[in-house]
Subunit: 204 residues, 2 copies
Amino acid sequence: MLDAVSGTRMVTARPAGRGGRGARERILTAATTLFHREGIHATGVERLTEHAHVSKRTFYQHFSSKNDLVEEYLRRIHQAGGMPSEQAIDTAASPRGRLLAIFDSAPGSRLRGCPFHNAAVEAADAMPGVEDIVHAHKLDFTARLIHTATEAGARDPYRLGNQLAVLFEGALALATSLNDTSPLLHARSAAETLIDAATIDSGK
Amino acid sequence: MLDAVSGTRMVTARPAGRGGRGARERILTAATTLFHREGIHATGVERLTEHAHVSKRTFYQHFSSKNDLVEEYLRRIHQAGGMPSEQAIDTAASPRGRLLAIFDSAPGSRLRGCPFHNAAVEAADAMPGVEDIVHAHKLDFTARLIHTATEAGARDPYRLGNQLAVLFEGALALATSLNDTSPLLHARSAAETLIDAATIDSGK
């Protein structure tokens, strides 16, 4: 599980082709910006190539299809340990602080939620490879929450970890629906109550 | 607030045009099925007209654009009191039972989450009319939760109502991400803990 979040940069075996190694990185950077900000379906290959300053020929030398690029875009975030708010679980000092830190991270200018969940919404059963990555990422993050709940002394860490996974997904999703950060604050206050209830009298 | 959830069928002032009154209903039925199951961007006017058995000419006699149809699709669900799982807040006997009932409703064959949230994800700031309807619906449902939290005897019903709104959004969103109903069960158990913590010693 933790290998996937070590942040190790993935080494690609694919030949660089015309446009050089920089072209592949530029395409992935464009995808990371545009898929998250404007959506996956709304971002066509034309828009991606313009944004990355590459030709369509170069694009298809690096990615066999847009779907291939979508999978690589998500895989990269997963391999980096998730979004910044997910990475926050590794930063605080105490286990309790780590469980709460995921609700604290400063949002960007426009709340666009979780790239994995958003991809699942857009995929709608038509992109099985994408859905596999989303499942793997969500289950991995839940496992990290359960592990940290154990360290925090929860009597039933599986239960607490899964409850916090739902709260975290809801905080990002409702913040997206409302374009407002207040769901993160409400989720944090709920998380405190759930952690307290799960750890009280547990001896830690 | 409650007017919007009375379930009263909206009366349209738009002339029926060719295809008759039935055509408009068939288009809306097709939209309700396809937008939810396959997504908004993935469902083009061609697919909608095929599914509704109407010509493109008839489609545009009833809806000035696909965007117009998306707004009407969401408005209808809002005016019916939301999704079945949201309507469940009006069904149980006790206020506590009503707060928990929203996590109980049986899902369909494929979990596709909240149509309002999904529309916000797909709209991505490019469909302001859609986003206004999403905001109105989410704020309205949160107000219903706060109202029911008051009836349940919560010391701070605003806080509990908002916490449950995040949990509910998270249950649907994570169930969509994972294509699994277990997030609804975890959300329900978290809701019980939050309701207990918010109402204990409140004298009800």
